[in-house]
């Protein structure tokens, strides 16, 4: 039943996408648009076939940056969230600064990272982590505060310790929000990694795009964009799957009775 429905769910967007690609292909051919300006989809597919080794190599670099950067953002974001939650002083001191720091465009820090850490992996991981950090930290803080007040009072009347209430009520209540923060963060992280590569790198899809553009290998640039889109969707879905497995009780949430 749900399989049928999810199939229908995918059917129309797929049709639309194929239709648009068809129009693209035909329009470019009829118009005789130069390939270096706008290659037809078939040329992009051709580029995948010809350059797969190159694309794979650079994809691996970017994916590594995204995963390491996201991992760092996740650990730092959750720890910061817990720290902010656990102390009023820290909340007053750190929270406004974190929010204010969002007005700094993180990508603008990329040139600085380049100066401090050179062309290697490190500056990319840091930029990626900086971008992913904010949604995770803020959602952790909000999540830890979202525990039901009456349930917390009930646990208090049972004579529970603050640590027990944290473990039994507040952390589980925070998890759905932490997961949604992570889902937002992972797509930001892909953008962050590519941007860091565009600023200065010797490998990665951002670097490959820039080099290919300079050589008017426009089909290859498109191939990189397609890979980045798939990477973003794939990582997002991966987190959604982990969330489903980790929070099985949420699956029945909508059919909640009374």
């Amino acid at each position: 039943m749900s399989r049928d429905r999810s199939f229908l769910h995918w059917l129309w967007p797929t049709f639309l996408l194929l239709g648009l690609l068809g129009i693209w292909e035909v329009a470019v051919r009829l118009d005789d648009t130069p390939r270096w300006m706008l290659p037809p989809p078939s040329a992009i597919a051709q580029s995948f076939r010809a350059d797969w080794r190159l694309l794979l190599e650079h994809t691996r670099v970017t994916l590594l940056e995204v995963i390491l950067g996201f991992g760092l953002a996740l650990v730092a974001g959750v720890l910061t969230g817990v720290a902010i939650d656990s102390s009023i002083v820290l909340r007053r001191a750190i929270y406004p600064l974190i929010i204010a720091s969002q007005t700094i465009p993180m990508v603008a820090l990329a040139p600085l990272m380049l100066i401090w850490f050179g062309y290697g992996l490190m500056p990319k991981i840091l930029i990626t982590a900086l971008i992913g950090f904010f949604p995770i930290a803020v959602n952790t803080v909000d999540g830890l505060r979202s525990g039901d007040r009456e349930i917390l009072a009930l646990l208090r009347s049972m004579g529970s310790s603050g640590g027990q209430r944290f473990r039994i009520v507040r952390v589980p209540a925070a998890l759905p929000l932490i997961f949604s923060g992570a889902r937002i963060a992972i797509t930001f992280c892909v953008i962050g990694a590519v941007f860091a590569e565009l600023v200065g790198a010797s490998a990665g899809l951002g670097y490959l795009m820039e080099r290919s553009a300079a050589q008017f290998q426009t089909a290859r640039v498109f191939a990189c964009i397609v890979i980045l889109a798939i990477m973003g969707i794939g990582l997002f879905s991966l987190i959604a799957i982990i969330e489903r497995l980790a929070l099985p009780w949420r699956r029945f949430h909508t059919e909640s009775s009374e």
């Binding site: 009520v169 099985p248 009775s257």
Partner: protein, 254 residues
């Protein structure tokens, strides 16, 4: 012991104070003749509210075992002890269900099982059946008295329902609204075990009148007829609510 009184008479606040959630502003709370501060009272009683307050991320079994776990019983022991009582609470087979998969009555029974398993000599029940429909309510009342008769605990029950108070309690205390003061204490001497047939006895009816009077429901017999008919009109399921004479201050005012 049952506490009955209009909304705003401080019944729930009193339970919050007894459980130790809030300090008393004046007076003392004593247990077995021993005055206790509110910090000392925390964990000394088992508290149950109108909302079931089950944790959505714990199975029915883990929810029932919660108080035991907090009192330091190892998780496996707590689960075993909770599981042993699932059948007698009419919950057999639902050990692994999530709270969102259970009906309102079942959720309330899980909450009650959690309260009983806390194994405290004082139970604080704040309108424990208030959120349930009439049939579930009657069933759970009968069942509460049965459980009480088999393992006597001190129960402080807050209710809006005069019949529930008389049927369950050995003493009914009537509070006035703002400020909440004790205006009447009605000893209820019906012997145990009690059955629902009690509700049809003359003494029951007489006790109910006395309490209704103490609550100010019987000021003028004429008016009382009136309130009854309007209540029947406004009630969504008048026939379903037959056993109770619930009221709240909103209806009182009119």
């Amino acid at each position: 012991m049952a506490l009955i009184g209009p909304s705003g008479s401080g019944k729930s606040t009193l339970l919050d104070i007894v459980s130790g959630l809030f300090p008393e502003s004046e007076g003392t709370v004593s247990f077995a003749g021993q005055p206790l501060s509110f910090e000392e009272r925390l964990g000394g009683s088992a508290y149950m509210r109108q909302r079931d307050l089950l944790l959505p991320w714990r199975s029915a079994l883990d929810n029932a075992a919660l108080a035991l776990e907090i009192h330091g019983v190892p998780r496996r022991d707590a689960r075993t002890r909770a599981a042993a009582r699932f059948p007698s609470f009419g919950l057999a087979g639902f050990e692994d269900a999530w709270p969102s998969q259970l009906s309102g009555g079942m959720r309330q029974r899980v909450a009650f099982l959690r309260t009983m398993l806390a194994d405290r000599s004082i139970l604080l029940l704040d309108e424990p059946f208030g959120a349930l429909d009439a049939l579930n309510r009657v069933a759970l009342q009968a069942w509460l008295i049965e459980i009480w008769e088999s393992e006597r605990r001190s129960v402080l029950l807050v209710t809006h329902d005069i019949d529930e108070a008389i049927f369950l309690a050995d003493r009914v205390i009537v509070l006035s609204s703002r400020p909440g003061r004790i205006v009447h204490v009605e000893p209820i001497s019906f012997p145990h075990p009690r059955h629902r047939s009690l509700l049809a006895t003359e003494e029951f009816f007489w006790r109910r009148s006395r309490l209704a009077e103490a609550l100010g429901l019987l000021d003028e017999p004429e008016e009382q007829e009136d309130t009854h008919s309007t209540r029947a009109d406004t009630r969504s399921t008048p026939s379903g609510r037959a056993p109770g004479v619930p009221y709240d201050s909103g209806e009182m005012a009119s």
